[in-house]
Every structure is written in structure tokens, then in C-alpha cells.
Amino acid sequence: MKNGISILLSRIATPTRVGPRDFIIVAVLAAIAFAVPYFAGTYQQEVGFRILQLGALAAAWNIAAGYTGLVSLGSAAFFGIGVYTMAIASNAGLPIALCVVLAAGVAGLFALIVSPALFRLRGLYFTVGTLALAEAMRIFVVNSPWFGGQAGIYLTARAPKAYDLYWIALLIAVFVVVCVLLLLRSRWSYRMQAVRDDEDVASQLGVRTYRTKLWAFGLSGALIAIVGSIQALNQGIVQPNGGFGMSWTIDIVSVAIIGGMGTKVGPWVGAVFIVLLGEFLIQFPEIHLAVVGVVLVLVIRFMPNGIWGTLTLALQKNRNFS
């Protein structure tokens, strides 16, 4: 599907080169972030947790939406799978680390199962299909007898401390970043971007479009489920409207678009922006999401490449003129 957004984005995303420098920057930033709990209070750790969580979610979503053109509004389905897998598996007595891996596996399997139906849909129809899928999952979990219904499931595992959670979130954020960077170094990223820019041409050029989309969608979903499994530990109770709720999709989409879809750094810029905006509006929780919506409308209209994309383009322009 060729359209405005992807044409604009491909200008930025295609020349993305990932070298050793990127990994060094990530390592330095991670080391600084690692030290935060030693000098910051619980409140700062919670804000940091939220930034890492949303950044990781948006970066994972970006793999499918930004690089492969699979704009999904069904992220809540994968997030919820992560949340519920952690709850059920950890209550069954499995070690936490194994539960996280299991969450990723179940999400990948889910992507595999739904892909034959979803990938027949292109562009806007794919988006609607994913939205329907997430709602169907939520309603199924509410009504089916196996998942505790509306009341949800309590986790028997001991609730982690704020700094533990922060460090787990940091570990996962670094994992997501490394996944994205390695992906961008590999041939997959070229195939993905070819599928995004024009699926038919990519197919003519010998790209196995179905397999490419499945890998991108599955990886994206698995990473989202990993973050979801940590959210279950954080909450101590999992409920259908919390795990499969639209609010996660809304957060992910707004973070990725405001930061810049199809860029490496965009999701993290967006996460910092959205979390700080939320803290700024903490006195007005009822208008918080409405303000996020207004920002989203303005960003789509006036800076369709998001904060980071617009900055990068402006810098490139300056370099060319000087």
C-alpha cells in the first residue's frame, strides 16, 4: 500500500544504518538508567518504569506498524495474552523467567493462528480486523469460564518492590531495543520496508511477503506480550478490562505516532513525552486522555513524522544546505 505516511516515512527510515555506535549509545544509556534507583525515590522509579514500559511497547508495535506497514489496533490482544499467561503460569508454580518466555511463545503462536485471516486484509481493512480481534479476545475472556471472568485472577507470586520492577522493565526495554537494532541490521528490515512501501512490487521482486509479515507481526506481538507479563506482576491481579483494555492500544499508538513511526528513537521520545504529560496532568485524570487525543490530532496534521522524525528531517536539511 503506497500512501502519504509511508512515503514520508520511507525517506527517514530507509537510510537507517545501525552500526556499533548505536549499541554503544544504548549500553551507556542503559548503564545510566541502571543507576537511577540508587539516587532516586520510589516516585521517580515508578515514572521510570512507566516510560520504559510504554517505550518498549511502542518500539515493539513499531516493528509491525512503522517498518512493515501493518498498522495494528489489536495490540491489546497481545498485551492481554502476556498478562494472562503470566498470571496462569506463575500461579501454577512456574519460575517467573520461564513465565515471561512462555508469554512470548503464546503470543507468537496466537499471531501464527490469526495470520491466515488477518493477512488477507490489506491496509485499512487489516486495521479494522485487528481492532475486532482485540475486542473479541476481551469479550471471550470476560465470558469464558476459564479466566476468572470480570473478577480476574489474583497472582500468588510475591509482589516485587518498585526498584525490582524498574530493573526488570529496564532489562526488557534493553532487550526490545537490541531486538530492533539487530532486526534493522539484518536483511529482514529491507524485506519489511519493501512490503510496507508496496506489497505487490515486493512480491514481484521475490520477497516472501506472507512470511515477512508473519515474522514482523509475531515478533511485535511477542515483545508486547513480554511487557504485558511484567504488568501482571506489577498489578498483582489481572482483569479482562485491564489486560485486554483498549487503553493499552491507545497508549501504544499515541506514543509511537507522537514520537515518530518508523524511527528507532521515536517510540522512546514519545514515551517520555506521554508519561511526562500524564504526570503534568495528574490533577486532571479525566481530561488527560482527551489532551493526549488533541496532541495526536495536531501531530498527525502538522508533523506527520512525529517529534523525532521531524527533528531528523530538519537536521538533514540543514546539513544539505550548509
Partner: protein, 294 residues
């Protein structure tokens, strides 16, 4: 469910058919917008909810019966959505399909949270004099409100069908949907047609919201459910096919009621969503492939 009781089943099927026809009114506009503007309008559900709240407050403050309020709600919905298209959606159209889609997504978030802020999160419902009456046809009991809503929906759908097939606006609309560039060349004001279509959708969707609210209670967050139901209906009925949408609504109503009958009421929407996904995958252009009226 050990034994299937035939009267109960007949009741379910007929009630579902009437209910589906009634809900079809909320889907007609979505199909027009998708056909003419190539826009997936994700704020559609919130417009439906807005119509329900408009009727609720008209009844609460001025005692206007929801059925008499329908024309007022249509005008309100029309007046509310016309500037949205003109000032917000039209300017982003140049950024591509996804920009429009995500803008309507953002608008849906804004509206839903404003509803929660101003109308509270409480569940509301609309009442009329005959809300609890039923009409007996032999052993079958049907709620009177379903019959009235079905009749209203059918009338309005016929009117929209006349508008699209028999008037000059309809001709411009069909031309803009078929090929906007050629339409513009022969002198059709395409952006005005889009504007009119989106506002017409706003009016129709809000009226649909009133009819739905007469049968079910609603909350500020009902929007996404209404959106997906409307989608299932237009996919069943075929894109841009107005009377097809009405028939699609009846079909969905029957399927949902059967789902609720066999699996329990909680699965009513689930059955519709699963059917939507399957239908999108196997027949994205609808199963009623008759003459396209658009």
C-alpha cells in the same frame, strides 16, 4: 441447553431480525463514508453514543420523547460532524489513508473521554411509554419498541437509498465515490460532496444511537462496540450498498441472537466479531453481491 424449544427459538430469531434491522440505521452512514471518502471512520461509534446522549438529555430537560427527538438529533449530529470533516479530516487527507484513520482514532479518544468527563461513566437508558410493552403474535412475544425501531430504520434507509439513487446530490456522491478525479473534471465539487456525506453520516449515526439506546443501556465507552457492530453489518451487506446494509443488519441480528441463545447473552457481541473477522478474510466485499447501488 438440553432441548431446543421451538417457540423460544422463533422468538429469538424474529426478535434478532427486528433488532438487527433497527441497528442497521447506525451502519448506513459508515458505509457511505467508506465508499465516498475511502475513510475508515473510527469515531463512528462515538457519534452513535453522542446521539444517544443527545436524546437522553432532550428527554431529561425538556421532556421530549426520544422518538419525537429523532429529527432534532439528526440535525445535531449533522451540525456536529460537518465542521469535523471540514477543519480536521479534510486537511490531513493529503497525508494518506492512514493519517485520516488515525485522526478519527484520536477523535474517538477525545470524544469518549469528554463523555466520561461531562456525562459521568454511569450506564444510561432511554425510556418511552411503550418500552416495556410487547406485542403478541400467536405464541411469539416481540417488544413493541423493536417493531417501531425497525419501521423507522427501514423508512430512513429507504429515504437514504432514494437520496443516493434518485437525486443530483446522489449522482455527485456516486461519481465521487467511483472516481473522484474524473468527477472533479466534470464539475462536481468533490470536497463539498465529502463534507455532505460525512455530515449525513453524523446525522444518521446519531439517530441510530437513539434507536439502539431505546433497546439497550449505554455508557460513554459503548462506542467501540457500536463501531465494530456497524462494521460487521456493512461487511455482511456489501460496501456502499444501502439496502444491502439493511439486510446485513437483519442477518447480523439473527446471528447474534442465535449466539446469545445457544452460548449465553455475554457472547452476543463475540459471535458478531468472530463473524466479522471470518467474513473480512473470506469475502471482504460482502456476501450480498448483487447490483451495487453506489
Amino acid at each position: 441447553m438440553n432441548s431446543i424449544d421451538p417457540v423460544g427459538l422463533a422468538n429469538t430469531v424474529l426478535g434478532g431480525a427486528l433488532l438487527g434491522g433497527l441497528i442497521a440505521l447506525s451502519a448506513v452512514g459508515l458505509s457511505l463514508v467508506l465508499g465516498v471518502m475511502k475513510l475508515v471512520n473510527l469515531m463512528h461509534g462515538q457519534i452513535v453514543v453522542l446521539g444517544a446522549y443527545a436524546a437522553f438529555y432532550l428527554a431529561a430537560f425538556w421532556g421530549i420523547s426520544p422518538l419525537l427527538a429523532l429529527p432534532i438529533v439528526f440535525v445535531l449530529g449533522f451540525a456536529f460532524t460537518a465542521p469535523v470533516q471540514h477543519f480536521i479530516l479534510a486537511p490531513v487527507a493529503k497525508h494518506g489513508e492512514e493519517a485520516g484513520l488515525l485522526t478519527t482514532f484520536a477523535l474517538a479518544i477525545i470524544l469518549e473521554n469528554l463523555f466520561i468527563r461531562f456525562f459521568s461513566g454511569d450506564s444510561r437508558s432511554l425510556d418511552t411509554a411503550f418500552s416495556r410493552e410487547t406485542l403478541a403474535i400467536g405464541p411469539i412475544n416481540l417488544p413493541t419498541i423493536y417493531l417501531i425501531g425497525f419501521a423507522i430504520s427501514l423508512t430512513v434507509c429507504l429515504a437514504v437509498w432514494m437520496l443516493v439513487t434518485r437525486t443530483s446530490f446522489g449522482r455527485s456522491l456516486r461519481a465521487s465515490s467511483e472516481d473522484p478525479i474524473s468527477a472533479a473534471i466534470v464539475g462536481i465539487h468533490v470536497s463539498r460532496v465529502r463534507w455532505g456525506t460525512f455530515a449525513l453520516n453524523g446525522g444518521l449515526a446519531s439517530m441510530g444511537g437513539v434507536l439502539i439506546a431505546l433497546c439497550f443501556s449505554f455508557t460513554p465507552s459503548s462506542g467501540s462496540e457500536y463501531l465494530l457492530t456497524a462494521f460487521a453489518i456493512i461487511v455482511l451487506g456489501g460496501l456502499g450498498n444501502i439496502m444491502g446494509t439493511f439486510v446485513g443488519g437483519i442477518a447480523l441480528g439473527v446471528i447474534q441472537s442465535l449466539g446469545a441463545y445457544f452460548f449465553g447473552d455475554g457472547y452476543r457481541t463475540f459471535v458478531g466479531l468472530v463473524m466479522l473477522i471470518i467474513l473480512l478474510a473470506i469475502a471482504p466485499n460482502g456476501i450480498l453481491k448483487r447490483r451495487r447501488s453506489l
